[in-house]
Symmetry: C2
Subunit: 351 residues, 2 copies
Amino acid sequence: MAGYRVAVVGATGAVGQTVLRVLEERAFPVASLRVTATARSAGRTVAFRGQPHTIAETTLEALRGVQIAFFGGGDGASERFGRAAAASGTVVIDKSSTFRMEPDVPLVIPEINRRALRGHRGIIANPNCSTITILMALAPLHAVVPIRRAVVCTYQSVSGAGRDQMEALLDQSRRLLERPDLLRDRPTPEDVERVTGTPQPIAFNLLPQWKWLPGGVTEEEDKIIHETGKIMEADIPISVTTVRVPVLIGHLMALHVEFARPFPVERARAALAAAPGVEVADDPERGVYPTPLYATGRDACVVGRIRPDPTVSGGLCLLAATDNLRKGAALNAVQIAEALVEERLLAGARL
Amino acid sequence: MAGYRVAVVGATGAVGQTVLRVLEERAFPVASLRVTATARSAGRTVAFRGQPHTIAETTLEALRGVQIAFFGGGDGASERFGRAAAASGTVVIDKSSTFRMEPDVPLVIPEINRRALRGHRGIIANPNCSTITILMALAPLHAVVPIRRAVVCTYQSVSGAGRDQMEALLDQSRRLLERPDLLRDRPTPEDVERVTGTPQPIAFNLLPQWKWLPGGVTEEEDKIIHETGKIMEADIPISVTTVRVPVLIGHLMALHVEFARPFPVERARAALAAAPGVEVADDPERGVYPTPLYATGRDACVVGRIRPDPTVSGGLCLLAATDNLRKGAALNAVQIAEALVEERLLAGARL
């Protein structure tokens, strides 16, 4: 079959698995596929187009001759092999945060800043899954009326933290359902840890993100703020609180946005309805609004509850949800590959 | 025993049960106790101070001679019997939203506006559980530097919607744990309904509040906005998004606040630490921050992640969490009763 020599690095992870599904669904021209992961997973098989593929350990050698490598992120492979693979001629489409803010690395949401792909030097970064959700909703509005400031609160599912956290949510949920007294009676951290394995479970609970930067900001908040500036090529002040919620898949964002001029709700809704990759779901009285469960398995960023904010001039509020494994990760990565193909930005010949 | 003739209306509900526990814990002077509920629960017993008490159906007759009646809200009893009970000489401390915005009904958080109890006419309303959480954190700050505007996103547990919703979360969670495919593979609403009983479960999902007002605002958002004005006796513009999360007990609020003047974080933290009913839990690098599980069973409003908001002049961000059944409901109601006793605002003689 004509196509490209493709690798999926981290193929057993939540993102890697979704990359394989999205490549199938979109019939991306894959001539040959290599699947790699950490040594722990080497030898296992994953399915692609009905065929089993054996996982190799991720090494530079395993990526030799590959034209497009999707790095799933989360296992350190990007730091270890990303630059070297790019130097060997592979175009690396990376989900990790390793390269996002590097000046020579485009940070791309294809619907928003596809043009940033031109002049890439072998590595293209995917934004953080919350950043993607936020900007898929905000960029089409900013194009009509500039944004002065946005307050964002995130409701992020555990799959954003990878496959292990997904298992942890399900496992903790099972254990706490057998001990619901721990959810009612002022449980001690010790009792909770004895039952769930951690004093701070995510099941039936909420957690601020857990990597902290000086000043009490989470790494997640910092990413959203800085990635927004790079992608939008504009200084859009974002005030953000990130919270992890006990949801398996699907990130929800509550957006309270201040525009430079009044922005009637109907104009905003029309701008979002016309935006590629956006689905407007906004009939709350009939139960139509963005939820993570509704977004799960969908490609679009789902927006709704678009309403005026009477507390500020030019204010609008809305909700936005994506499947964080798809548009927040794997789909965005495959869309980048498609754009590279269309714009003839892949080095090396097509087979 | 010397004390008051007390009734708990809705004694089988989530709030009523917690009122009984809080009355015990705080050794409120209860001379006699009547417990009532809908006809469906009549004849069942509930425990108070180690003794079983038989539930009577809530009627005006059942409340005759009662000096203080705690109405749990949620079963229509407030609308049916609240005014009549007050007219008969019972002081009604009501959790429902029925009377909150009535001009002759004080809406009270004792730590904040206890003086509003003076001149009550037999009914005192408890605020919405989100309003209480928000204002326990904001009022001590507003007393130091006036608030110009606040953006609030809520993360509300299901117990705020009553006992049935608590059972629903646990039941839906059990069912979905046996069908985790429904959380991954773009489930149809029909499949989800077949397994959970509803096309829009709250388990492993997030739901905007479900009562809608014109303009696309939820009833919950409307309550927060208007109750804040009444309690604070000030026009504090609040921009709010309410979201129900799959947590059993404990409401978390993300607050992005604009003050009239710059407000250093250390001064804000000191003001909160000195505020009655507030616990500062703010050492995130050591895992100390407000979560619903931490707040569960505690009396205080737990605040943390107090940090500057560099996107606006005089900006601060923080998180606040309460046990919505305690400070958000039952504890606040019992504190109102205690204040009435202390200020000699109960009609009729103490036995």
